[in-house]
């Protein structure tokens, strides 16, 4: 039935395992620890299969075109190509680690049973995996989308006795259903019917007028944009939903679920195109995407700085990071239409950066949400105004949070640096191909410093500084090993991504090469980028694009070595005169001692900046129940 059973069977087996988990695990719900372990076992097994199949498709070649899963008269197109494989792998890794984390983390909710959670969690993964596997905008899409949406709705609503959670979940559900309508509507406008693969849909767009094309791509952009959380749509639901869900769920929501929106946008703008691109204005849509991306990263990140709720901060920052990805995609699309071969190569670099950021963001944002969960677990609060000084009590969590913070802030030589470097470089090198793209690139540079501010604050206010010694009444301890393990694993992933980006460039290039019908496919055919892009242990170099010479280069290991040498010099200098260290109290001018009253709190940080950018909005707390909904 399928030409590639080696891909399809593991995926279907994984989906079956997840479905089984949803049925079986709730039976153990009364014994919480057992439920957690059984749940993890099922999820882990499924994820191994998914990852295996995904990597195989990405590295070894995927399905060339959609094939149909037929159930009687109904046919659902299935496509597991390189791109699907890449996303399947991301979903698998993060899902398994979140499920592992959930075993102990769910202790945090003694008042809530685990039945719903263990039933919805596997379905959620199933929905996401299915969404990147089906290749239509009608039935298969609907099925996967609804599974994903309804299960995540249940998960967001987990603490259902809190009115703000119920509200956040309801809003989430309503907007996701709207997104579904928009996407399905887009498919219908394109003239699709049940069973049409995206490739077929693209074919139907041939010869369509500018108006219908505009409607199709517009609807799909808004629909998938809602899911991905781009500005201003993401602000409607994302911060509330992500911050109130249990942390392993938040990790999945931010780490991978948003990426299904990105996946949708990729499929729409890079695959589902009229044959030969006739009538499709890549430059225009690329500019739209890039502009949306730039606005998203700028606004989302600034809104993130304003937050004092750790998980809200992370949620807003997810919007910002999605912005980078969308900017990269937009740059790629925009430049893909150029007549200059060098500029088209640049487009390939941009899409590499965007997809690399998808992988990186999944790892560090997942890790950050798990860190946020650990804060909540250990202290009972996620309010940065009340946290502080945890580094001595939770040293391992602090260290991994440091890795994640440096990564997302894009400090060299971290993973965020490598991917942002790629995106920014390709924007800046666009030069006169698009002035706006250059300016977006600078906006992205600016925003990465804002991101940095965000995470200096997040890390500093939670782990260094002071506060929890006065505000947290219970004894604070490092989180259990079972919660540390997934965090350590993700931290390791972050470090590998940062130091060895060439591995991931290879993976992504291969995945794109193994995706038939990809707009920029030409660049990813063997030798397509030879002589322009070199990736190796010694970093990434873009060269000889516009005549001989270096265009851009980064080498994380070289940076690491350089910094290590400089650090060694600093250490030598510090020790040179044998200064002795003495512990002293904090100096506060001699009358007061450091206390809860005079410590500087999170909400005061960057006050001048926040005031200046007040117009960007960004609520610092979810709207509470309906009662307080109205303005006085």
């Amino acid at each position: 039935m399928f030409t590639r059973p080696d891909l399809v069977i593991p995926v279907f087996a994984a989906l079956a395992a997840l479905a089984a988990a949803a049925v079986v695990t709730p039976l153990f719900a009364a014994r919480r620890r057992a439920a957690g372990i059984v749940h993890f076992a099922f999820v882990a097994a499924a994820c191994v299969l998914l990852a295996w199949a995904g990597l195989k498709a990405a590295l070894g070649g995927g399905m060339d075109e959609a094939e149909f899963l037929r159930l009687g008269p109904i046919a659902v197109p299935i496509l597991i190509d390189g791109l699907s494989g890449l996303f399947l792998a991301v979903i698998a890794v993060l899902s398994a680690l979140s499920a592992l984390y959930a075993i102990r983390y769910m202790d945090h909710y003694p008042d809530y049973g685990l039945g719903r959670f263990t039933a919805a969690f596997p379905v959620f993964i199933l929905g996401m995996a299915a969404l990147v596997t089906v290749d239509d905008l009608s039935l298969g899409f609907t099925l996967a989308w609804q599974l994903m949406t309804l299960s995540s709705f249940v998960l967001i609503r987990f603490e259902r006795r809190k009115p703000e959670n119920v509200r956040a979940a309801a809003k989430y559900l309503a907007l996701m259903e709207l997104a579904w309508l928009l996407v399905v509507g887009g498919g219908l406008v394109a003239g699709g019917s049940i069973g049409d693969s995206l490739h077929t849909l693209g074919g139907k767009l041939a010869g369509a007028g500018a108006g219908p094309l505009f409607a199709v791509y517009g609807l799909l952009l808004v629909g998938f944009g809602l899911k991905a959380g781009v500005f201003p749509l993401g602000q409607l639901w994302l911060p509330d939903a992500h911050s109130v869900a249990p942390s392993p769920v938040s990790a999945l929501l931010s780490g991978v679920m948003l990426k299904t929106g990105i996946f949708g946008l990729l499929r729409v703008f890079f695959f589902m195109l009229p044959p030969g691109g006739n009538g499709f204005d890549a430059a225009l849509w690329g500019l739209v995407l890039a502009a949306v991306g730039a606005a998203t990263l700028f606004i989302g990140t600034i809104q993130s700085v304003k937050q004092s709720d750790a998980k809200r901060l992370l949620a807003f920052s997810s919007i910002g990071q999605i912005g980078y990805i969308v900017l990269g995609m937009g740059a790629a699309l925009l430049l893909s239409g150029s007549g200059v071969p060098a500029v088209r190569s640049l487009a390939a670099v941009a899409i590499l950066g965007a997809l690399f950021h998808v992988l990186n963001h999944a790892a560090f944002k997942g890790l950050l949400f798990l860190t946020g969960g650990s804060l909540l677990y250990a202290t009972g609060t996620k309010d940065l105004n009340r946290l502080g000084g945890l580094i001595k009590l939770m040293p391992v969590s602090a260290a991994v949070a440091g890795v994640a913070s440096l990564s997302i802030a894009g400090m060299p030589p971290s993973s965020g640096f490598a991917s942002k470097w790629t995106i920014i470089t390709s924007s800046l090198l666009a030069g006169d191909a698009s002035v706006l793209l250059v300016l977006f690139g600078i906006a992205a540079l600016f925003t990465s410093v804002v991101t940095l501010a965000c995470y200096v604050k997040f890390f500093g206010m939670a782990f260094t500084a002071s506060g929890s010694e006065w505000t947290v009444k219970k004894e604070i301890r490092e989180v259990p090993v079972l919660m540390l393990l997934p965090k350590l694993a993700l931290a390791a992933v972050c470090i590998v991504q940062g130091l060895f980006p060439f591995l991931f460039f290879g993976l992504i290039s291969s995945a794109l090469a193994n995706s038939r019908g990809f707009l920029l496919g030409e660049a990813f055919t063997p030798g397509g980028l030879d002589g322009m892009l070199s990736v190796s242990l010694l970093g990434i170099r873009v060269h000889d694009l516009f005549g001989p010479g270096l265009n851009a280069a980064v080498a994380p290991l070289v940076v690491l070595g350089l910094l290590a040498a400089a650090l060694a010099a600093a250490v030598l200098l510090r020790r040179s005169a044998g200064s002795r260290e003495v512990a002293v109290p904090t100096w506060l001018c001699g009358y007061q001692e450091l206390s809860d009253k005079n410590r500087y709190r999170d909400h005061g940080m960057f006050a001048a900046f926040k005031n200046f950018f007040r117009w960007t909005g960004g609520r610092t707390s979810p709207k509470a129940g309906r009662r307080q909904g109205g303005r006085p």
Binding site: C589, G590, Y591, Q592, N598, R601, H603, A607, K610
Partner: protein, 558 residues
């Protein structure tokens, strides 16, 4: 309101509870009132336009079995003052607080809660003001049974509790050791982000009980030398204010030439004080070039002071009955020469400061208070004049030789730090003008020091106000039987201005804290009334200026 109409109004209002008498001069109205009407009368005086100066509490149990309490009001337009007096029985020294309506009286009341054990019912902030954090409850140092050198054992749990911070704010603890404060005091500044939402003050950290010391240990003629050391800047102000209060109480008339010399000393003091302030203000907004240049211009005035008084500071010149040194014709030329040089240089400085837009940015609109509130807080000196309050003791209640001199009183109505800056700069030129006039009009001869009778009459009251560089200094004196003051109350301008500082800080940025506090030119030593004795300085050695410079710049010992 004129004196007569004021008296009529009060008689109508209080009837027999009120006794009106005249003080040492026609400009001193004394009202004795029943304790129950004390508060009402004070409010009436304030409503009639009286400016609250200060309160004077005294322990008079030994001679009349009661505690005395006086509220002093000034009617600046009409040039007279009112002392509203009452007393309370020794067992229950309780009064009604006037602080809710007259905020400037808050500290006075708290001071006597601490020092005399009074109670002021209705005081909005009945907390410790002066006594140290570990000073035991129940010991009130100004009471006569408490020895001047009492060192009680430290007490627990009596420390000052800072005000509760407003919701959502963090306390920034500033002082006692902080570069924007040049003397010890503590400000707990409540900030939201960087916006100041409130402030609590804990000062008096170096209170050494000068009043108590002078009421128990020294004689009239020694007090001036203590008085001028109340402050590091305005030595002549306190010496003159004290001497005038004794002279008023005892009815001593001093020689006119001495009055002119006092005037010259006071203005020279203003010159160096304003230049010092200008420098400090520059430093406080991070403009050290202003700081250094202003102090460079000031330096010749200090050297002049040394030639005039024998001290680099304006100390040791003014005593009861006159002054100790003459201004000879040679010194007169010296003064004129220095003034000329200073005038030119300050002229340049003035242009540089007033035309600098970046200075405008750091001072305009900063520390704003409208005129009405400035009056309610009884703000003084340039701080008041920068906020449209047209008062100046030299003009309104002339002393020394000011009645014979003509000068302008610069007033700005911008209501902010900028206003005080401009006022001070302009006053420098007025001071130069005054000194020149005084040198011209000064009688060419006459005694410097009037003989004072050995025994001064006891229990006479004397009030003296002097316009210090920072504003009005008030000394209130009750003569005593033992050749020393029975009660001597000193109120320097900072004591009053500092009370208004939390209001000035409100809704400003934390970065403006230094310049706002600096704009009142705070003198905590005046406020605290310190006495520092350097016990280490056993040996004496005179260094030449070049030697000192060599010491400062070089590394070798001289």
């Amino acid at each position: 309101m004129t004196k007569d109409s004021l008296i009529r109004t009060l008689r109508d209002g209080f009837g027999p509870a009120l006794t009106v008498s005249e003080g040492a001069t026609p400009k001193r109205l004394v009202l004795d009132i029943d304790r129950t009407a004390f508060r009402a009368a004070a409010l009436k005086l304030r409503a009639a336009g009286g400016r609250y100066m200060v309160g004077v509490g005294s322990d008079e149990r030994d001679r009349r079995g009661a505690f005395g309490m006086i509220h002093l009001f000034a009617f600046d337009k009409d040039g007279f003052t009112v002392a509203l007096r009452t007393s309370a029985p020794a067992e229950t020294p309780e009064f009604d607080s006037i602080a809710p309506e007259i905020p400037a009286a808050g500290w006075t009341e708290r001071e006597y809660m601490d020092l005399l054990g009074f109670t002021f019912k209705g005081n909005p902030k009945p907390k410790k003001l002066i006594l140290a954090d570990d000073w035991p409850a129940g010991i009130h140092p100004l009471r006569k049974e408490v020895p001047y050198n009492l060192v009680p054992p430290s007490a627990e749990d009596v420390a000052y509790e800072l005000d509760e911070a407003p919701e959502g704010t963090t306390t920034v603890p500033i002082g006692p050791f902080h570069p924007s404060l040049h003397e010890p005091a503590h400000f707990a500044v409540y900030v939201d982000g960087e916006t100041i939402k409130g402030c609590d003050y804990r000062g008096f950290m170096t209170h050494r009980g000068i009043e108590k010391l002078c009421q128990t240990q020294v004689s009239y003629n020694e007090v001036p030398f203590v008085a001028e050391r109340i402050c590091g800047i305005c030595g002549s102000v306190h010496a003159a204010a004290y001497s005038q209060s004794v002279e008023e109480a005892a009815g001593i008339k001093i020689a006119r030439r001495a009055e002119f010399i006092r005037t010259i000393m006071l203005e020279i003091e203003r010159l160096h004080s304003h230049l010092l302030w200008l420098g400090v203000a520059g430093h406080l907004i991070g403009y050290d070039t202003i700081f250094m240049q202003s102090w460079r211009v000031r330096e010749p005035i200090m050297w002049l002071s040394e030639r005039l008084t024998g001290n680099r500071k304006t100390y040791g010149m003014i005593v009861i009955g006159g002054v100790r040194r003459d201004i000879t014709p040679a010194l007169r030329e010296d003064i004129l020469g220095v003034l000329k040089k200073v005038e030119t240089e300050v002229g340049g400085l003035k242009d540089a400061v007033l035309k600098d837009t970046s200075i405008h940015r750091r001072t305009k609109g900063v520390g704003f208070i409208p005129r009405e509130e400035a009056e309610a807080w009884s703000l003084l000196g340039p701080v008041a004049r920068g906020r449209g309050v047209d008062i100046d003791v030299r003009r309104d209640h002339p002393y020394a030789a000011y009645d014979e001199l003509s000068f302008d009183v610069p007033v700005m109505d911008s209501g902010d730090v900028w206003g005080t800056l401009v006022v001070r700069l302009l006053e420098i030129f007025e001071s130069i003008k005054i000194v020149r006039q005084a040198l011209d009009k000064m009688p060419s001869d006459g005694p410097l020091l009037t003989e004072v009778a050995d025994v001064l009459p006891a229990y006479r009251h004397g009030l003296s106000m002097v316009e210090a560089p920072r504003g009005e200094s008030v000394h209130y004196l009750i003569t005593g039987p033992e050749n020393r003051p029975e009660r001597w109350r000193v109120r320097a301008p900072t004591y009053t201005n500092l009370q208004g500082v939390p209001r000035m800080l409100l809704d400003n940025q934390l970065a403006d804290f230094p310049i706002i506090v600096g704009s009142i030119d705070p003198c905590f030593s005046c406020t605290d009334r310190v006495l520092v004795v350097d016990g280490r300085a056993r040996s004496r050695r005179v260094f030449a200026r070049s030697e000192i410079e060599a010491l400062g710049r070089g590394r070798r010992k001289p």
